[in-house]
């Protein structure tokens, strides 16, 4: 059953031992951010819910990285989590794929909890919300690191929800970075062409599915809110904004309404990004003018401390991107078996396992995969035989090291749309969003005769007769070993 709001999700995470309420006062300036980061890096640490932020009223709360473990992602989608990482990942990928192909339109309601407090005009003050200085050296306090920013296409009914980082410039202006190929950019180009402000509404602290669809993205022209309905199995309830015609989830913790100033750019960033580095310098970014803030009583501001994997972006995007790419590959009739967008690689490497009925199938797989919207963010693709468990990084790296020929198996794509946040790119590539890609074909060539040219894998399961394996397993404890 779907969570109606973030608070139900908080309660569920707490009940599952995945969240700890921190009642001791913490400083919004680095302390809370550093705690979030450590929670990401310490194995099995729960996420923090800060209940007392220095300088802010009792009740104002900040929540860290709600989806940064596979278990939390499974809870968000109401799926089982008592299984291996690979089994849960595969189930979530399948769930995401199936549910997102059955979108459910939202329902508009007259009001909702997000209207409990309303501030307009001179009363708008972003500093009254406990936005964190997340990393030392960030360009500002990032109030938006896990949210849904709604914008409407100028020529159609398409309403995009996206999560584009938002930094506070001053009490009523935010700065943001958007990549040239992202949906918000496509919409903004149309408004800027006629010098028209583009209305926006940012919902902070929605139910977990709202957050998920906003960070993962859906195909161009598709309304994320419909996909959110599909993933929830019931419509999202929306309420109209106070100062524009956009609609936001009625149970959102905080809503920022306003407009993006056309053709205005002001220095934004830097920001510790999902790449695990603060790789992009301070640079001109878009400017959001905030006309109205509404929020629930005792609001919860969600935040993601992006950085070295694995944080919310790495897991949530990985599952959703794999779902999109695998659906596309299967539509093309490709005999793919499994896919893992490796969270530990900060989403820069994906591995796909496949049967190999004909030569060079890895190329066809790569062409279809890179044709998908989400795969624009994945510059390195490994294609492996179907005997490799793509979630077992030991097996994957062994296949890469032993089966990918440094010349014949490595296929660079020197010119591609790039992602300016990729750390290894040079200044010019970042500036113009130029990129490149590489396919690593880690499959045995189909024209190598079995038994003659294909080397035999030397593992317990592959190089001993079944009878020998069974005998050893049956006698394992008698030999003196434990399980």
């Amino acid at each position: 059953m779907a969570f109606s709001d973030l608070r139900e999700f908080v309660d569920k995470l707490e009940a599952e031992g995945e969240l700890v309420r921190i009642k001791q006062e913490v400083d919004w300036n680095l302390e809370a951010g550093a705690i979030c980061r450590r929670c990401i890096e310490v194995d099995k640490a729960p996420i923090p819910l800060f209940e007392k932020i220095k300088g802010y009223p009792e009740g104002y709360r900040v929540m860290g990285d709600p989806l940064c473990r596979i278990k939390r992602l499974a809870i968000a989608l109401d799926r089982p989590f008592d299984a291996s990482y690979g089994d849960v990942y595969r189930d979530l990928m399948k769930t995401y794929s199936e549910r997102s192909t059955h979108p459910i339109k939202p329902r508009t309601v007259s009001t909702g909890p997000c209207k409990e407090n309303i501030y307009e005009g001179d009363d708008v003050d972003l500093f009254k919300l406990p936005a964190l200085m997340i990393h030392d050296g960030d360009g500002g306090r990032y109030i938006g690191s896990l949210h849904s920013t709604s914008t409407k296409d100028l020529d159609s009914d398409w309403v995009n929800w996206g999560c584009y980082r938002m930094m506070i410039h001053n009490k009523n202006h935010l700065g943001g970075y958007v990549a040239p190929f992202q949906d918000l950019t496509a919409m903004l180009r149309k408004y800027e062409a006629i010098n028209k402000p583009m209305p926006f509404a940012t919902a902070l602290g929605t139910d977990p599915v709202g957050m998920l669809v906003s960070i993962t993205g859906v195909p161009y022209g598709v309304n994320e809110v419909d996909i959110a309905g599909g993933l929830r199995g019931e419509p999202v309830e929306l309420v109209k904004c106070e100062t524009n015609d956009l609609r936001v989830p009625a149970t959102a913790e905080i809503v920022l309404e306003g407009h993006i100033l056309p053709n205005v750019r002001v220095d934004e960033g830097p920001f510790g990004e999902y790449s695990g580095y603060r790789s992009s310098p301070r640079a001109p970014g878009i400017v959001y003018k905030v006309d109205c803030i509404t929020h629930r009583d005792d609001p919860i501001l969600p935040t993601v401390n992006e950085g070295v994997p694995t944080d919310t972006s790495h897991l949530a995007c990985g599952v959703a991107w794999a779902a999109e790419v695998m659906s596309a590959l299967r539509r093309e009739g490709l005999p793919v078996v499994d896919m893992n967008v490796i969270a530990e690689s900060a989403l820069f490497i994906a591995v796909i396992s496949t049967k190999t009925p004909y030569p060079n199938i890895a190329h066809r797989i790569a062409c279809v995969a890179w044709g998908c919207k989400s795969a624009q963010y994945i510059p390195k693709l490994m294609v492996v035989n179907d005997d490799i468990d793509v979630y077992n990084l030991g097996e994957v790296i062994h296949a890469f090291g032993s089966k990918c020929h440094p010349v014949r198996g490595t296929h660079p794509v020197p010119y591609a749309v790039g992602n300016p946040l990729v750390p290894y790119q040079n200044y010019e590539e970042r500036l113009w969003s130029k990129g490149c890609r590489v396919l690593y074909d880690c499959t045995w060539p189909v024209d190598w005769p079995i038994g003659v040219a294909v080397p035999q894998r030397s593992s317990f399961k592959t190089i001993y007769p079944v009878g020998v394996q069974e005998k050893i397993l049956a006698n394992w404890k008698r030999y003196g070993f434990e399980e």
Binding site: F127, M133, H135, D136, G137, D138, G139, G140, R141, I168, H169, N170, K171, H173, L261, V264, V266, D267, P270, R278, S279, S280, P281, R282, A283, V287, K289
Partner: protein, 80 residues
């Protein structure tokens, strides 16, 4: 009371000492950002009575020694 600000700059030659220059700074108490006309110097001794100006590279790394800043005027602009 002396206030502390910072600004992002890679090339220090952009900060012409002793001249009126325009730059965007952040108030380190709140991280409010504003564009100002100011005089800067590489040490507080060169600009008595000035506020502190910390410098960061544009990727965020803090430089060791702070400069000094005297704000002459807060400038208007699209977001000021």
């Amino acid at each position: 009371m002396t206030k502390a600000y910072d600004t992002f700059v890679d090339d220090l030659s952009q900060l012409k000492e002793g001249e009126e220059i325009e730059l965007r700074i952040r108030d380190l108490e709140t991280y409010d950002s504003k564009k100002v006309k100011a005089i800067v110097a590489s040490s507080k001794e060169k600009l008595p009575g000035a506020d502190i100006l910390w410098l960061r590279f544009t990727r965020g790394l803090l430089r060791e020694d702070p400069w000094a800043i005297k704000i002459i005027e807060e400038l208007g602009g699209p977001i000021d």
